[in-house]
Symmetry: C2
Subunit: 271 residues, 2 copies
């Protein structure tokens, strides 16, 4: 699967969000997702407008924004149209089906109404997919399962990862892929038939090698070429700590990651 | 540990939230936590005022409330003082340390400023405790780890559960206990020394036996007497689907669960 181009993989998906993302990546020639982890509406929109031309996906944590309001969502959607990217709310849903359905659709943030893609931990079992799917599938949304994590001492390994993959296989119309550190957990099965899942990988950096709270970084080449992942997720490597944002520096870093990620992809499909 | 009274266990904890909860349970003679999973501020406050006299803890999903505002928090805190209960935001944090610190302290909901207790999944590894602790520990807050879940096909079993318990043991000043289905995973160690953890158990019902999204129910007697858990968490068993709330019926059900839970506890410590 990892030797096929993004464009060729569009037809292997039935889910609209997966199709839209793969088409966009092929058209725009980028596999970069920027994670915008800042707490003010102004910084949030400034960073997104700066990186917009270089990304396929903007990853949000909408629940950390102090001055969130409906206008923020309107402006985010305008930027999505202006720059041609999709929106991924990194909510990491992790509750029982009945609760996640409410968290996804309701409350102040109404995530399902604006996020093309969201994600969930598989730990509650298949009910979490049923709950989120009851809301998101009719809207054409896509779900990623966290089958692996990037942090030190994390428990998403072994049987846990295998179970996540199995849960995804049972729900291919809504589960479009994984947050994972490599394509390995899918490899054997992908050879057997034509199933396709997107692999999005966090913890990608060029100059930094960890923080004090267990995050560990890997390079775009390692992630895309060696490990067969599809989308690199970069946050602090592009905008630092989010204070005193220097737009031209943010743009420079985004272009640098975009180029590294795309070159690794071209080498992979050419390989 | 499960043979000791709640009052005797106060001195085994250093964390202020754990001490406050155990003292309150002893004083008020209730081990009932009501989970208030409704989406309007009015219903939310109505249910809490109705069940307040019978609970030790009110469990919230603040992110499902459509018309959330600061006044809701003020009124929730007034009810907490009026009826003598603590507040547990069932956020199920599940991200890397840097992100959960922001989610806990910032955004629209500012959970750390009002929730005495919150919870987290151990899946990201110990960094999630470091991140939440950097915010909550200075405020005297307490954290519960989800070491087991009540849903069908959940992955919080075996080594996963053991790792959660080990992570808690390394962070006893902030991690006050578990969301779990029994005390079994702690048993051997608790005999060896005087460690004490609170066990809070969801999925408790009297008349209902499951929903269509994987939730499975157990009785208060099973949970408190047979399984040695400390707090029973009841939601839909008390207020139904949250529509057309009948206050007297809600109060009747709350008193019924309170009595069942307390009787099972008395039998346990007398046993």
């Amino acid at each position: 699967m990892s030797r096929l181009s993004y464009g060729h993989r569009v037809e292997l998906h039935s889910n609209s969000a997966a199709k839209a993302l793969l088409s966009l990546m092929e058209r725009k020639k980028t596999n970069l997702c920027v994670s915008v982890d800042v707490t003010s509406k102004a910084s949030f929109l400034t960073i997104i407008d700066a990186v917009g031309p270089d990304v396929c996906l903007v990853k949000t944590h909408i629940d950390i924004i102090e001055d969130f309001d409906q206008d923020l969502i309107t402006k985010l959607q305008e930027l999505s149209a202006k720059h041609d990217f999709l929106i991924f709310e990194d909510r990491k849903f992790a509750d029982i089906g009945n609760t996640v359905a409410l968290q996804y659709s309701q409350g102040v943030h109404k995530i399902a109404s604006w996020a093309h893609i969201t994600n969930a931990h598989p730990v509650p079992g298949p009910g979490i997919i049923a709950g989120l799917g009851s809301v998101g599938h009719p809207l054409g949304r896509g779900l990623l399962l966290l089958s692996e994590m990037s942090t030190k001492g994390n428990l998403a390994t072994g049987l846990y990862t295998e179970s996540a993959v199995e849960m995804a296989r049972q729900n291919r119309d809504f589960v479009i892929g994984f947050i994972a550190m490599s394509r390995d957990s899918l490899h054997q099965k992908e050879k057997d038939d034509s199933e396709d899942f997107l692999i999005l990988t966090p913890g990608v950096g060029l100059d930094t090698y960890g923080d004090t709270m267990g995050q560990q970084y890997k390079t775009p080449y390692e992630v895309v070429f060696n490990r067969g992942c599809d989308v690199i997720i970069v946050g602090r490597g592009i905008y630092g700590d989010g204070k005193n944002i220097d737009i031209s520096s943010v743009q420079t870093q985004a272009k640098r990651f975009r180029q590294e990620g795309w070159n690794a992809y071209l080498k992979r499909i050419d390989g």
